[in-house]
């Protein structure tokens, strides 16, 4: 018999996704709990018309009256009801253009609909930006929504003088927005006062003296509670982390494969990002270290235009030019479901409040449990992340003080972590203990040794053995440190039982550090 391949999909949890495409259609894809697994198209809104192609979409996910905003190619922003597809309002945004021909040259490229509502009378407030960099914030009130004429409160400003804007991203608190594009460096704006508060600086010319023009294709804020960390992706297949509090050049810059990165989304855990490229590669990065966590493999062959992370469930949705909506598990990096939607897709949004309306009790229960599980996982991750950050900080401190900048980053990270800590006292104690220990080490001016097991001790001794002359010295130091370590251990045992896994990482870090040191000494 012919061998056939099937996707061993574990099935996706109940969710609702809305996709927009180049024919101006909005398609609703739902996966339900009852016939578990398969996601399918349940509704299609709008009539196919290429001139009304949707370029961007944004969903204000609220429990009560959610709104979906879509920006069309002809410059109209429409507000829809994401539950039934009713058009609530339509606004022509490029009306300030002198004539129609000019308006066509300057199409809308990005759109963000604010989640928070200033008052009940306002239907929705959105920020839209055109290709030439004319950004505008408009509010649509409920009374003049039907008239669809011009809207009262609107503000327009120029984001840039030249170049083409390609993305706009608004932070979680919705008071800052960033823009970037072809020939435009990433710049951060305070939306409340419409002032530019930060702009990036392009990296130095490379060893051949070649300077690359900035060309940013996607960007996002890394943390929900921190607008200072920005992840921006370039056309030269780089993922960059900017810390606006620190410097104007990127803190981390990582290359990923060979094709331009077209979409990026941040994970709510505050350090992971998901990126999609022009050849359909999807991957996730840990932006604390800039390490590739893994790629998502699933026969995806077309450019990825949009990635969305589900706010609660551990899954992401991606869509693009191969006209498939794909739903992935972020923990296992497995494809959960793929839906063929017939057109080139431009954007996808996930409705986080869908599951609550699910009639089946089973589904919601499962969902809750999975949510809890997710929450737990996230907690653990946070713990780990904290510990890793500390380890980094320690490593940084242990290094010579040449690299001031990097140290500052680390400290900053530490600080941000500290804010989080206040929520949980027990952890805070642990942190304090660790911090104290770190401080002690700084005073000693020695390397710290973290490993508990004998094996690791031996490893490190082995590392030390490379260095013939200083071997004995090291051994002595280690003995001293062992004493101090016992104290530390006590502290940590007080605070947390499950620290053993991060410990391993820590020890790995410290051993690396040791290697570096030993090299340095050899050079000396």
């Amino acid at each position: 018999m012919p061998r056939t391949t099937v996707v061993e999909s574990p099935g996706c949890p109940p969710l609702r996704a809305l996709t927009t495409d180049i024919l101006g259609l909005v398609k609703v894809v739902e996966a339900r709990a009852r016939p578990a697994g398969a996601a399918k198209v349940v509704e299609t809104w709008g009539a196919p018309d290429a001139s009304r192609a949707i370029v961007a979409a944004s969903l204000a996910g609220r429990a009560a009256d959610p709104v979906l905003a879509v920006a069309r190619k002809n410059g109209v922003v429409e507000l829809l009801n994401p539950l039934n597809g009713d058009a609530l309002a339509a606004v022509k945004t490029v009306q300030y253009a002198p004539n129609d021909s000019d308006a066509e040259v300057d199409p809308l490229v990005t759109l963000h609909l604010f989640t928070r509502q200033a008052s009940d009378s306002i239907l929705g407030t959105f920020i839209a930006c055109t290709d030439k960099g004319k950004a505008s914030i408009r509010s649509i009130t409920k009374e003049n929504a039907s008239s669809s004429s011009d809207v009262r409160p609107s503000t327009t400003w120029d984001v840039c003088s030249g170049g083409n804007v390609q993305f706009c991203s608004v932070d979680h608190g919705e008071s800052y927005a960033m823009f970037g594009g072809k020939g435009i460096e990433v710049n951060l704006w305070d939306i409340t006062s419409y002032s530019k508060i930060w702009s990036a600086k392009s990296p130095r010319a490379n060893s051949l003296g070649i300077f690359t023009r900035p060309w940013f294709t996607a960007g996002t804020f890394l943390c929900e509670d921190d607008h200072r960390k920005i992840v921006a992706c370039t056309n030269n297949h780089q993922v960059r982390l900017y810390d606006t509090a620190l410097q104007r050049r990127p803190a981390i810059s990582v290359d990923f494969r060979e094709s331009p990165i077209k979409a990026v989304a941040a994970d709510p855990n505050g350090h992971d990002v998901y990126i999609g490229t022009g050849t359909g590669d999807l991957a996730s990065f840990d932006m604390r270290t800039g390490k590739l966590l893994g790629c998502y493999i699933g026969k995806c062959s077309g450019s990825i235009r949009s990635i969305v992370r589900h706010p609660e469930l551990p899954l992401i949705a991606s869509c693009g030019l191969d006209s498939y909506l794909r739903i992935w598990d972020t923990n296992t990096r497995q494809l959960l479901s793929a839906v063929f939607l017939k057109q080139h897709l431009t954007a996808v949004v996930l409705d986080a409040y869908f599951s609550i309306e699910e009639p089946g009790e089973m589904g919601s229960k499962e969902l809750e449990s999975s949510r809890e599980a997710e929450a737990e996982v996230r907690k653990e991750k946070k713990k780990k992340s904290k510990i890793i950050e500390e380890a980094e900080a320690e490593a940084e401190v242990r290094k010579e003080k040449k690299k001031k900048k990097s140290k500052i980053i680390a400290e900053d990270e530490d600080g941000s972590a500290g804010e989080e800590k206040k929520k949980k006292k027990s952890k805070a104690i642990a942190e304090d203990g660790d911090a104290a220990a770190a401080a002690a080490e700084v005073q000693n001016g020695k390397k710290k040794k973290k490993s508990k097991t004998i094996n690791e001790d031996q490893e490190e001794v082995g590392v030390v053995d490379h260095n013939d002359s200083d071997g004995e010295m090291y051994a002595r130091k280690e003995r001293k440190k062992k004493k101090s370590r016992t104290i530390e251990e006590d502290e940590e045992r007080d605070s947390d039982g499950e620290i053993c896994t991060p410990k391993r990482r820590k020890s790995g870090e410290s051993s690396k550090c040791l290697k570096k040191k030993s090299k340095k000494q050899q050079i000396a």
Binding site: R3, A50, N235, S259, P260, S301, L321
Partner: protein, 362 residues
């Protein structure tokens, strides 16, 4: 066979390992009755080569005879049905890779309204609706030699309203600009490697997609036996088997190279035949001829004198191949015009897609 069995049996009883093997075999063929045990000895289990080949030949002969008997039976059944005036039994269809193709949700359906809406919106619509006449620019890679020039010469005879421009040292992006300014609708780049054309790049203009094909099995006109010489009429176009959405798009791209109003007087036909993701290009002239039937000559033997006047006249179609013959395989389909650095792909062939022989993309 019986002898074989007798000889085989005692050692298998004696030696424990072979016994175990026998048991395993019995387990495997557990459904068969016990008396058929002797038949189960496979040639691969016999160590003596002579005996093995003997048994193998025998088995083969049996199999062949069985097959022939089956065929005869089928034949007779069909004949009997014909005599009785019944429906003949259904012919068996051989199972091929194409007809056991994996089910694909992207296959175009004629009742799909979105498909037609998408067609109306795509880049080839203006050409295919005959608002614009296609105008094709043909150029090469920078070093064009070997069979490249000859191939281009023939390609220009195939595609009406095509113009050759020397590549020179221009970048492809510049050439795309140049062609856009001169209202070309498509750009074809023939890429040569080691004096042999090996890739074809077809770019839709002004903003159409860019398709990159691997070109293989190129045979030029002079190497085709009994080839014909094409006329300058507009050819008819045959596009076969472009079934999926991607295939549909590629097919439309091919279609947009040719004018949509063929001169049927020219009796010239260009074929793009897709089979298992390979696109076969052929270029033919055809002619309908009236010819005396062969049956007439048979009659002639019987009735020598009157057959000449009576012989039936039949219209047959004759084909004569002309022009180049080659095979294309799609490697990438890029959104927008040629741009390797910042291009977005609609479809890229990736090695992790090749997990089945029965999945096709076009």
């Amino acid at each position: 066979m019986a002898k074989e069995k007798k000889r085989k049996q005692p050692p298998s009883d004696a030696a424990p390992p072979t016994d175990g093997e026998g048991e395993g075999r019995r387990e495997r063929k557990g459904k068969k009755p016990k008396r058929a045990k002797a038949d189960v000895i496979l040639p691969s289990q016999i160590k003596n080569k002579d005996k093995r080949s003997e048994l193998h030949a025998k088995l083969k002969r049996e199999k062949k005879a069985q097959k022939r008997a089956l065929a005869r039976e089928r034949d007779q059944a069909a004949r009997r049905a014909e005599e009785l005036g019944e429906q003949p039994p259904e012919r068996q269809v051989p199972r091929t890779i194409e007809n056991t193709r994996e089910p694909d949700e992207t296959v175009c359906r004629p009742d799909d309204q979105e498909l037609f809406a998408g067609n109306d919106a795509d880049e080839f619509n203006a050409v295919l609706k005959q608002h614009i006449t296609p105008k094709v620019l043909i150029t090469t890679c920078r070093f064009n030699s070997g069979r490249g020039p000859a191939f281009i010469e023939e390609l220009m005879q195939v595609i009406p309203n095509s113009h050759y421009v020397k590549r020179g040292t221009y970048e492809l992006k510049k050439i795309v600009e140049y062609a856009k300014n001169r209202d070309f609708t498509s750009l074809i780049v023939v890429h040569t490697n080691r004096r042999e054309p090996d890739a074809l790049l077809i770019i839709g203009l002004p903003d159409g997609p860019t398709a990159h094909f691997k070109l293989s099995k190129l045979i030029l006109r002079k190497d085709i036996k009994n080839h014909g010489n094409p006329t300058s009429h507009k050819p008819e176009l045959v596009l076969n088997n472009f079934t999926t959405r991607l295939g549909h798009r590629v097919g439309r791209m091919m279609q947009s190279l040719f004018p949509q109003d063929p001169n049927f007087r020219g009796r010239r036909v260009v074929t793009f035949h897709n089979q298992r993701d390979y696109i076969f290009f052929r270029h033919h002239r055809y002619i309908f001829e009236t010819k005396e039937k062969k049956v007439a000559s048979k009659d002639k033997k019987a009735k020598a004198s009157e057959s000449k006047t009576k012989s039936e006249k039949e219209v047959i179609c004759r084909l004569q191949e002309c022009g180049p013959r080659f095979t294309l395989k799609l490697l990438t389909l890029q959104h927008g015009t040629f741009d390797t650095k910042s291009g977005e792909y609609e479809w890229v062939h990736k090695p992790d897609m090749d997990t089945s022989r029965r999945r096709f993309f076009l």
